[in-house]
């Protein structure tokens, strides 16, 4: 079912037979995906396909009912967001998960504040670190002292990404990273993602936008109704074939020309 990645070596992340159910409804059923260093994996599917629930088991926000997670080939157990962070897994949520009333440095360090030797918050060091990371990612960003609610969508996305970069994320989960952004800001975020990929970070990107996925992803995993339809190399498939996977749940080799035509109805 899964098309084996052509990359060699141990995957950065391997999720095997993950299942999550909410009161009898299988949100995720026996799904296995993997992710290699320096790779962007697009995770696509319609509403309610189980994409977000699947990655939440990796980011520690949702407990899986069954399944195993391997990081660098080692089995790990992830029971909380903190566990995930300790393993180098950073998540950028669709909602961005920022404390709107606080400034960029506070948000970057939320839950992992830098402290002085007297056990108090070291705001100056945090601001300094934030300025340095942001200088690398988005040099135009200068609003370090205002609540993030007054920032633009792209700037807020920068804050979320800067947080992941500062804490040396090896695995980055991005849930709809460009959904709330304008065209210029989308370009900026895409640029950032390529930059992170160059640095060897593995990225799992959830997206509704098939163009985004084709532009950025190396491989594409498709989910439908909680199950994995399959994983394909982007270069081996057409957009229509991926759409067929998303909508009717058939792999490129199973789908008929007639069905492909019907997609365009």
């Amino acid at each position: 079912m899964t098309i084996a990645s052509q990359r060699g070596g141990t995957p950065l992340v391997e999720m095997r037979d993950m299942s999550v159910s909410f009161g009898g409804v299988h949100a995720v059923k026996d799904v296995s995906i993997d992710l290699y260093p320096g790779e962007i994996l697009g995770l696509v599917g319609g509403n309610g396909a189980g994409k977000s629930t699947l990655v939440k088991t990796l980011s520690g926000a949702q407990k899986a009912d069954s399944g195993e997670i391997y990081i660098d080939g080692e089995p790990v157990s992830i029971n909380s967001p903190r566990d995930a962070k300790n393993l180098g897994i950073e998540t950028i949520y669709q909602t961005l998960a920022l404390a709107e009333n606080q400034d960029a440095p506070s948000n970057m360090f939320l839950g992992r504040e830098l402290m002085t030797r007297w056990g108090t918050l070291d705001d100056s060091s945090m601001e300094d670190a934030a300025r340095k990371v942001m200088g690398r990612l988005n040099p135009k960003f200068q609003n370090f002292k205002v609540p993030v609610e007054s920032l633009s969508g792209g700037q807020r996305q920068s804050v979320a990404i800067a947080k992941a970069v500062y804490f040396n994320a090896r695995i980055l989960i991005m849930d709809e990273p460009t959904a709330a952004l304008g065209p210029a800001e989308t370009d900026q975020v895409r640029q950032l993602m390529r930059q992170l990929k160059e640095e060897g970070i593995g990225i799992i990107m959830i997206s509704h936008d098939i163009h985004d996925v084709f532009d950025l992803a190396d491989r594409i995993s498709v989910m439908l109704q909680g199950r994995l339809v399959g994983t394909v190399n982007k270069d081996d498939v057409t957009m229509d074939e991926v759409l067929a996977m998303i909508i009717i749940g058939k792999l490129p080799e199973e789908v008929t020309t007639k069905e492909l035509e019907q997609l365009h109805g």
Partner: protein, 439 residues
């Protein structure tokens, strides 16, 4: 209460260079324009009442009494800021003052003396400590129901409002408990419950050194990291203003003298000869105000410098983000209510010490004054926004209005009307201001 934001002046359009209002200039230099506005409003209230009352408002006597009266509410308002910032509310604080105050009173008047011996010098401290522990326990109990069971804090503390009022009555079957331990009484201010002249000047001096040290440390830290510094003149102005306010307040407190009959008795007790023209013994800073200053320092430190404070604000800003960041939000909420409970106990101690008695109705309606003080002081009921100094200024604005109206002979019903209208108007102005600022 309201924010004075200087409108862009006409000359801005004529002069070259960036267009900037005074407000944005101050904000750029990390000065809270909202607080500046509140101070202006407070001064306006004082001046108006001073004129209306024929010059009796801005007098040492009135300001001294005002400071003692507002302390009990202001102490609790600092805790209410954290409660409201965390998207909760505590309606039970008035009734908790009743229960905790009653327990502390009964302890020192009836329960402890037979055990420890009447007049034992530890009675006041043991009563106070038990009161504080009780306040913390009640707070933690209510907070746990909010955080772990998931009952909205409005309901939990509405229940608490009834429950603790009931316990206040049950503790002594509705009797009035008096008198308090002589040492304990000092906590309430009064003729002997203040620092005296020399002590007050020392406290004022220490405060000035502290203000200057904070400003210098801030500059040094910013320079170390290469951040933009405030213009030096602005820091000098802030330092001078801060010290002037502190020393001015001490001077006012020291200008209020012990009433003549008490002064004569004091002189006789201490064998001081009474000079020509009467004896003038300055009272200095009353202990309730000193307690309030201490509470303010501790609460500001907790809010701004500790993880706990930052987490409270994060939870208020976005509870989901806070828990995704790995913050133990439930434990934090319990601690917020516990802090509130401790401050209730401190406030209750001040109140019973001042009254020199405890009655089962002690603290009735305090919850509303405390919430109003926090809200007038800029705490947003939708959570995430609020400051400790703001809440104290809010309490001071309310007490000033009330005392002022008493001075000019406004009846109690009209006082209530004015306070109620003030609350709504203050929040309305704030809402409009925030909406404009957000644009």
């Amino acid at each position: 209460m309201s924010v004075v934001e200087a409108p862009p002046t006409q000359s801005d359009t004529l002069e070259p260079g960036p267009r900037r209002s005074l407000g944005s200039y101050l904000r750029d230099n990390e000065i809270d324009t909202r607080m500046v506005g509140m101070v202006v409003v407070l001064l306006a209230i004082w001046i108006v009442f001073h004129l209306l009352s024929g010059g009796t408002f801005i007098t040492p006597r009135n300001l001294w009494n005002l400071s003692v009266q507002f302390s009990a509410i202001a102490i609790m308002a600092t805790g209410m800021v954290l409660v409201i910032v965390s998207r909760n509310i505590d309606l039970s604080v008035g009734s908790m003052v009743g229960t905790v105050g009653m327990v502390m009173a009964v302890l020192q008047a009836e329960w402890l003396p037979p055990v420890l011996g009447a007049g034992n010098s530890w009675i006041w401290l043991i009563s106070l400590i038990i009161g504080v522990v009780l306040g913390a326990l009640i707070g933690a109990f209510q907070g746990s129901i909010v955080a772990y069971v998931g009952v909205p804090s409005f309901i939990v503390t509405l229940g608490g409002l009834l429950v603790w009022r009931g316990f206040a009555w049950l503790t002594a079957s509705g009797r009035t408990i008096a008198p308090m331990d002589p040492t304990f009484q000092l906590l309430g201010g009064g003729s002997s419950g203040s620092l005296g002249e020399t002590g007050s000047w020392i406290v004022g001096g220490v405060a000035c050194v502290g203000i200057v040290a904070l400003l210098l440390m801030g500059r040094r830290r910013r320079r170390k990291f290469g951040f933009r510094l405030r213009p030096a003149w602005l820091d000098v102005v802030l330092g001078v203003l801060g010290c002037a306010v502190v020393l001015g307040a001490v001077w006012v407190m020291n200008s209020y003298y012990l009433p003549e009959n008490l002064a004569i008795r004091y002189a006789e007790e201490h064998g001081i000869p009474i000079p020509e023209g009467g004896l003038q013994i300055p009272l200095g800073i009353p202990y309730p105000v000193l307690i309030l200053v201490g509470v303010t320092l501790v609460m500001s430190y907790v809010t701004n410098r500790l993880r706990f404070g930052r987490y409270v604000f994060s939870i208020g800003g976005n509870p989901e983000a806070a828990s995704l960041a790995g913050i133990k939000t439930k434990r934090t909420i319990v601690r917020v209510f516990m802090t509130m409970g401790i401050l209730v106990a401190v406030s209750a101690a001040v109140s019973i010490a001042r009254l020199n008695a405890a009655v089962s109705g002690l603290g009735t309606l305090n919850e509303l004054y405390v919430i109003a003080a926090a809200v007038i002081g800029g705490t947003s009921l939708s959570g995430g926004i609020g400051t400790i100094p703001g809440a104290i200024l809010g309490a001071l604005v309310m007490q000033s209005l009330q005392s002022g109206m008493v001075l000019i002979g406004v009846g109690a019903p009209v006082q209530d009307v004015v306070l109620g209208v003030t609350l709504v108007v203050a929040v309305a102005i704030d809402t409009i201001y925030r909406r404009r600022a957000a644009r």
